[in-house]
Structures are given as structure tokens and as C-alpha cells.
Amino acid sequence: MTRVFLPLTVIVAAMFAVAPVLIVGAPYESSMGLVQKIFYFHFPAWMGMFAATAVCGVASARVLFMGRKDADLTAVAAAELVVVFGLIGLLTGPLWGRKAWGVWWSWDARGTSALVLWLIFVSYLLLRRFGGPGSERLSAAVGLFGMFNAPFVYWSVNLWRTLHPKTSVVPSLPPAMGVPLWFSTAAFLGLFALLLAMRTRLERRRAELDSLHLALEDSI
């Protein structure tokens, strides 16, 4: 990952530098106008969160069913990124909704289920922070549960009546709007990969520090 990290950082930085140019050049949506431009960061942030949810869920499954300790480091890192990307989505959504719907928050199916998913991963982190010994397996179960909850968030707009548009809207966007959207999404997914690598490294170094502390106790 170290060899890939620097080139990926340069690519992601370049993409985030180009993204505003594409977003400004995208046409205004006919009914919402300028405020719809929030979409170009709002949607990619949720995609970053879904990617983090999938990584955390798969890593948690490896911890639970295969007893892989190294997967636990990835699961913790991904769970934290679910909270970070979800926070961006949860903060940008109301700013868009205030103008488009006239309210900051509506308890519709998509918003509420996304908030519940975010809270599941907040509870994962709280469990890791305050759960004490053995919290790894319990939090892995929470991570797996969170991953299975994610498809409901995505499909909620098709299953229930909601203010959010259906999932068919994004694939049917004209190229002038679709290109900036998918470009921003790729940039966010690249950022997710970078942050995951950094956060996993932090967990690995913490594990090494714990081993050193044990070695120090043995040597005294």
C-alpha cells in the first residue's frame, strides 16, 4: 500500500481540484436551480459511506467466522470512515432540503434509515472505546449487522413514499450532470481508500505499541 499511497494521493488531490470546475459547468436542475449543486458532494459522500460499510462488514465477518485479528484493524478503520462520510451526508442533506423542501429535516424513509445506519456505526465505535476486553467480537457483530442494513437505506426510496428521488434518477441523468457526479464519486472513493489506509496504519501501529508495552513489562 505504501507504494500506491503517494500516487493515489496525487491523483485524488488532482481530482478534487478538477471536480469544482465540472460542478460549476454542470447545468442547473430545472426545478431546484443552484441548490441542486449540493448533490455533487452529497451523493458521493453517501457512496463513500456505503463503501466503508461494505469493508467494515466483510472485515467483521472475517473476524467473527475466521478469527482473523488483522481484519479487525480494517473493520475499526472502516467503521470510523462510515461515521465520517455519513456525517458529511447528514450535514449537507438538510442544507439542500431547507431550500428544496422548505424544511431542514424530514423523517422520511431515506433520511431516517440513513441516520439509523450512521448511529449503528457510532455505537460500534462507542463499543470499541468503552466495551473493554472482548469487545472486538461484539463490535464485529454490530459491523456485520450494519452492513446488512445498508441495502435497506439504498432501496428505501423504492419501497416507501419519500421526499427523496428514486434510485432510477441517478442512472438516467444526462451526461452534463452525470459526468461531474460520477467524477466526484470516484474522487470520494479514492479519498476513502487513502483514509482507510491511513486509519488502518494507525491501528497497526497501536497494536505494535501494545506489543512493545508487553515486552517492556516482561523485561522489567
Binding site: F41, I88, T92, L95, W96, R98, L202, R205
Partner: protein, 102 residues
Amino acid sequence: MNSVSRRRHLLAVVVLLVMCWAVVPGAALQSQPPTSPAQEGFVPIDQLQPKEQLPAAPLVMAAYAVAWLVIFGYVWSLWRRLSQVEQEIASVSQRVAGGGRQ
């Protein structure tokens, strides 16, 4: 009252009623203040009074600012935590190498 005068009275009442139907609603409508577009149901957002429109630009700028604040805040937090751990590793490694002496 004979039948002719009764017929004239009836005719007068009918004429009066017809005049009321024809004139009064029109007069009532004329006396109403003109309704604004907002009272008539759906109004396209670009036809609202300027004071009723919420400006979009501050919301868009706030959304992008919030996104960047969260990202930079998280990167800074990661960098700080990594630096602390690296410092601790260096310190504990020295102590391990020195046989546990402070």
C-alpha cells in the same frame, strides 16, 4: 289586491332576484382584494416575491464548506493520533532496548 297587481309584484320580485344574482356576485368579487399567486395554490419558485425566496448560494457554500471541514478535521485528527503513537513507539522502543530502565 287583484290578480293583475299580484302578477306585477311577482314579476318585480323575479326581476329583483335576477338582478341580485347578476350584480351582487360581481360586486362582491370586485370588492375582494386581488389574490396573490401564493394564495392560489402552486406557484413556481422563480415567480415568488423576492422576500419569500430563500437564497441558494449560502446553502451551497455552507454544504461544500461543511464537507471540507469534516474531511480536513478528520485528516488532522488522524495525523495527530499517528504522530502521538509514533512518539510513544520511539520512547517505549528505547526503554525496551535499554532493558526496561527509565
